[in-house]
C-alpha cells in the first residue's frame, strides 16, 4: 500500500506512467468507496452500474463534468468537517463552482503544490512578486480562484509584494512596490494571471520605463489564453517580453494549467513547452464524441484525476478545456509521466440555425 503523503512529498515526475497509474488506483479505490456517502455520487455510480472495487484502471473511474460543481453539492465528507468553500470565479454567488474543503484535503493540496513548484524552482524560500492587487487575496472563508492562486503559490514566499494596486475601482501600477523590488538583492519568484500580466502590467511598466534586473527570477503564470489569442499574442512573444522586463531568461517563464476544482494539482510547462502531470495525478484526454481516451497526438477534452481530496469528488473531473496528449514518459526535459498541451476552451460553434431555439412558455 502506497501512502498518498509519500507520493506527494517525493521528488515529482520520476514515476513511469503505468507504474504511477497502478499506485494511484490503489489509493483511489477506497476514496471512491467513501465518496458514495454523497447521494449524488452514489446516484452516478448506481446509474452507470459501476462498483469502485471493480474499477481496473484510472480511465474507467466515472467522471463528473466540471460544470456539476455549480449545480450539486459534491462534498464527500461530513459537512461539519468543511472549513472552507472554494469558489471558481465571480462574486455573485450564482453559477459558481463550489468546492468544499476539509483540513486534510487543504493540507494535501498545499503539500502537493509545494512539491510541484519545488521541482521547478528549488526548495529555497524567495520573495514573491504578485502581479495583481492585494484585494484579490482578501481574507474570507470563501475565496476566488485568483485569490486561491496567490495563496497557493505563496508557499515559498518570505515576503510578498503586489506590483499592482486598485484605486477607485481602477487597477494601476504600484510604482512604490516596483521601486522597492528593484532594489532587492534576494531571489524572487513571480506569479500572476497571464492576461493581467499582459494587459494591466507589462505595457504600463514598459511605457513607464521600468526594467528590473532579476536574473534568477522564476515566473509562473496561468489562465486567460483566449484573450491573449484574441490579441494575437503568442506564448513565445509573451515569455520573451515578460522575461526581458524582469531581466530573466524566457526559459524561466512557466505557464501552468490548473483549475479551482483540482487545487493542488497544476500542470507546469517545462522548457520544451510541455505541460507535465505530477506523480500524484492523472490526465486523460477524452474524445468529445466517443468519450474514449485519445492517443498521443490526438486532441480532446481534458480530464483530471487526483487523489488529493477526501472532502469532494476529485477522482475524475472532466473539463471543457481542450488538450492534446503529446507523449508519455519521454519528454526531452527528462520528466516522466504524461505531458500535454492545452488549446483553450470548447468554442461555441457556428452550427446554429432553425433548430437553435428555446422553449417558449405561454403567458
Amino acid at each position: 500500500m502506497t501512502d498518498l503523503e509519500d507520493l506527494i512529498n517525493k521528488e515529482q515526475y520520476t514515476l513511469q506512467d503505468d507504474e504511477k497509474q497502478s499506485l494511484l488506483l490503489e489509493i483511489m479505490r477506497p476514496q471512491l468507496e467513501l465518496s458514495l456517502r454523497n447521494d449524488h455520487i452514489a446516484s452516478l455510480y448506481a446509474k452507470l452500474r459501476v462498483e469502485p472495487s471493480s474499477i481496473e484502471c484510472l480511465d474507467d473511474i466515472p467522471f463528473v463534468p466540471v460544470q456539476m460543481f455549480k449545480l450539486f453539492d459534491l462534498a464527500t465528507c461530513e459537512h461539519s468537517d468543511i472549513f472552507r468553500v472554494l469558489r471558481s470565479s465571480g462574486t455573485t454567488g450564482i453559477n459558481q463552482s463550489q468546492v468544499p474543503l476539509n483540513k486534510r484535503t487543504a493540507t494535501y493540496q498545499t503539500k502537493a503544490l509545494k512539491s510541484i513548484i519545488q521541482s521547478f524552482m528549488g526548495a529555497k524560500r524567495r520573495r514573491m512578486l504578485v502581479i495583481d492587487h492585494q484585494g484579490i487575496n482578501a481574507s474570507t472563508a470563501e475565496i476566488t480562484a485568483r485569490g486561491a492562486g496567490v495563496r497557493g503559490l505563496s508557499l515559498f514566499s518570505k515576503g510578498m509584494h503586489y506590483l499592482l494596486k486598485q484605486e477607485g475601482g481602477t487597477i494601476m501600477l504600484d510604482e512604490d512596490a516596483i521601486a522597492e523590488v528593484s532594489r532587492t538583492k534576494d531571489d524572487v519568484y513571480i506569479f500572476g494571471f497571464t492576461y493581467i500580466i499582459w494587459s494591466e502590467f507589462y505595457h504600463r511598466a514598459k511605457a513607464a520605463g521600468f526594467h528590473l534586473d532579476l536574473p534568477n527570477a522564476v515566473i509562473f503564470h496561468s489562465g486567460g489564453w483566449k484573450k491573449m489569442e484574441d490579441r494575437k499574442v503568442s506564448r513565445e512573444v509573451f515569455s520573451t517580453s515578460v522575461a526581458e522586463l524582469f531581466g530573466t531568461s524566457p526559459s524561466k517563464v512557466h505557464d501552468f494549467y490548473g483549475m479551482a476544482e483540482q487545487t493542488g494539482v497544476i500542470f507546469v510547462e517545462c522548457e520544451h513547452g510541455h505541460k507535465h502531470v505530477p506523480d500524484f495525478a492523472h490526465v486523460v484526454i477524452r474524445d468529445p464524441r466517443t468519450l474514449q481516451p485519445c492517443g498521443i497526438g490526438e486532441t480532446g477534452l481534458i480530464q483530471v484525476s487526483s487523489p488529493l481530496s477526501d472532502s469532494y469528488y476529485s477522482q475524475a473531473i472532466l473539463t471543457e478545456d481542450k488538450g492534446t496528449l503529446l507523449g508519455i514518459d519521454d519528454c526531452p526535459c527528462g520528466r516522466k509521466g504524461r505531458y500535454f498541451q492545452v488549446s483553450g476552451r470548447v468554442a461555441r460553434s457556428e452550427v446554429r440555425g432553425c433548430g437553435d431555439t428555446y422553449k417558449e412558455s405561454k403567458l
Binding site: 446509474k47 456539476m68 468554442a347 440555425g353 432553425c354 433548430g355 431555439t357 428555446y358 422553449k359 412558455s361
Partner: protein
C-alpha cells in the same frame, strides 16, 4: 464577396455583386421560358442521376433528395402550391379571368449552418417557382450544394422527343460566401433581393430581417422552431414497441438533432407502459440505427450533452439511458413541461396525465409534432388542438424531416410568385 458558382460552373474568386446579379438576370430569361413540365423532367432525371454518381452517393441525405426529386413528388408539390402548375407557363382561365404566376425575380437565400441539405432545398423552392437564386452558403452546406448543382449542370435528357438541358436551370443559381457580420456585403446582398429566404436562429433571422430591402421584396422566414413527439398510451402498449420506435429514433438522430424539425422531447401519455419501459424500447430503437455517425457533432454540443448527462446521472430523482459514446441520450424525469433543448441527439422523455397538458403548452414556436398514436380519432382530435394553438406540422412516425410543402405553416412556392390576372 467570394463566388463559388456562376453560369452553372464552379469558380472560386472574389466578384462584385453587381456582376453576379447581371449574369443571373441574363441567364434567367431562358430559364423562365422553360415549361414547368420540362423543369420537373430535368429534376426527376437529376434525382435518379445523383444516387448513381459515386461522388454524390456519399452526400448527406442524398437518398432523400433523390426521392424528393421524383416526378410524382414534384407534381404533388406543385399541385398543392399552385393548384394548376400551368400557371407558371402562361395565363390560364380561372373563375371568369385569366391568371398567371409570375416569378418574383431573384431569390436571395441565407442558409443556416445546422442542416447540410437546407441549401439545395432552398434553391429547389426557387427553381419550382422559376426564380433565379443567389445563395449565401454556409461552411457545412456549400460543398453539398455545389456538388448537386454541378450534377444539375450536366443533366441532358429527352422529353417528348426534345432535348432538355439542366445547364439552363443551373445557370439561374449563383453561390457566394461572405462574412455574415460584414454589414456592407449583407446590406448589398439584401438590397438586390426580390425574395429573401432566410433559414436561421432567432438572432440571425432578426438581423437579416432588419437589413435594407426593396419595398416589393417578399420576406420568407424559416425562423427558430421547436419540435416534439407525443405517444398515446395505446401506442406504448404495443408488443413490438422498440421496432415501432425506430423511425422516431432516426428522426431524433438525424442532423444531430439540430434541425427545427428534430424532436427534442417525447411525451408519453400515462396509463400504458411506464417511462423506464418506454426508455428501454427507445434504447433498442436507437441501437438499431446504422450509418448515422457522430463525427460531425460540434464540440460545444458535445459539451452540452455531457453536462446534461452529468445532471441526470447525479440527480437522484432523474435518470439517463445512453450509449457509451454520444450517439444517443435519453433523459428521464418527472416533469411535464417543454424542456430547453440540449440537441446532440439528447431526447427528454416525460409523461403526462392527459394529452391536453401537451397541447396546452404548444405555441407558434412549435413546428413539428410527431405523433405516435394508434387511435385514429384521438390523433385527429389532438392534431386539431395542437395546430389551433400554433403547431405547423403534424407528422406521423419517421416523417419529421420530410420536407413536405407547406412548411412552417406556409405555402412557400405560392409566396415566391406574383399572382397576376387579366380580367
Amino acid at each position: 464577396m467570394r463566388c463559388h458558382l456562376l453560369n452553372g460552373k464552379r469558380i472560386d474568386h472574389e466578384m462584385e455583386l453587381e456582376s453576379i446579379v447581371n449574369a443571373l438576370n441574363k441567364n434567367s430569361k431562358e430559364f423562365r421560358r422553360m415549361p414547368i413540365g420540362d423543369i420537373v423532367a430535368i429534376l426527376d432525371y437529376l434525382g435518379r442521376d445523383l444516387i448513381k454518381d459515386p461522388e454524390c452517393q456519399t452526400l448527406d441525405g442524398i437518398s432523400y433528395i433523390s426521392m424528393w426529386l421524383r416526378r410524382s413528388n414534384l407534381e404533388r408539390v406543385l399541385k398543392t402550391e399552385y393548384d394548376d402548375p400551368a400557371v407558371l407557363d402562361g395565363f390560364i382561365p380561372s373563375e371568369g379571368m385569366r391568371i398567371k404566376a409570375q416569378p418574383r425575380g431573384l431569390a436571395c437565400h441565407w442558409v443556416a449552418n445546422n442542416v447540410t441539405t437546407l441549401g439545395i432545398f432552398s434553391v429547389l423552392l426557387a427553381i419550382l417557382s422559376k426564380n433565379s437564386s443567389l445563395v449565401k452558403a454556409s461552411l457545412i452546406n456549400k460543398d453539398h450544394l455545389l456538388k448537386i448543382l454541378a450534377k444539375l449542370d450536366e443533366v441532358r435528357c429527352e422529353k417528348d422527343g426534345r432535348s432538355l438541358s439542366g445547364a439552363v436551370i443551373a445557370a439561374s443559381v449563383a453561390v457566394v460566401t461572405f462574412e455574415g457580420r460584414d454589414i456592407n456585403s449583407s446590406s448589398k446582398f439584401s438590397q438586390v433581393a426580390d425574395i429573401k429566404v432566410v433559414w436561421g436562429g432567432a438572432e440571425s433571422v432578426a438581423a437579416i430581417s432588419s437589413l435594407p430591402s426593396r419595398s416589393s421584396c417578399e420576406l420568407i422566414l424559416f425562423g427558430p422552431k421547436y419540435s416534439l413527439g407525443v405517444m398515446d398510451r395505446e401506442f406504448s402498449q404495443q408488443k413490438d414497441l422498440a421496432l415501432k420506435l425506430r423511425p422516431f429514433a432516426r428522426d431524433v438522430m438525424l442532423f444531430d438533432q439540430m434541425a427545427c424539425s428534430s424532436p427534442q422531447v417525447l411525451f408519453v401519455e400515462k396509463g400504458g407502459r411506464d417511462l423506464n419501459e418506454v426508455a428501454a424500447a427507445l434504447k433498442e430503437a436507437f441501437q438499431s440505427q446504422r450509418g448515422i455517425t457522430i463525427g460531425g457533432m460540434a464540440e460545444d454540443i458535445c459539451a452540452k450533452v455531457i453536462n446534461a448527462r452529468g445532471r441526470y446521472l447525479l440527480d437522484v430523482d432523474r435518470n439517463v439511458v445512453s450509449s457509451h459514446d454520444l450517439s444517443w441520450t435519453i433523459l428521464i424525469d418527472n416533469e411535464d413541461s417543454f424542456p430547453d433543448p440540449v440537441h446532440g441527439r439528447c431526447l427528454f422523455l416525460r409523461s403526462v396525465d392527459d394529452l391536453d397538458r401537451v397541447s396546452a403548452q404548444i405555441t407558434h414556436n412549435v413546428q413539428a409534432v410527431e405523433l405516435l398514436f394508434t387511435d385514429e380519432e384521438k390523433m385527429i382530435k389532438f392534431s386539431d388542438k395542437a395546430t389551433a394553438v400554433g403547431a405547423d406540422r403534424i407528422i406521423l412516425s419517421g416523417g419529421a424531416h420530410d420536407f413536405s410543402l407547406p412548411w412552417d405553416g406556409m405555402k412557400v412556392l405560392n409566396r415566391m410568385v406574383r399572382w397576376v390576372t387579366i380580367r
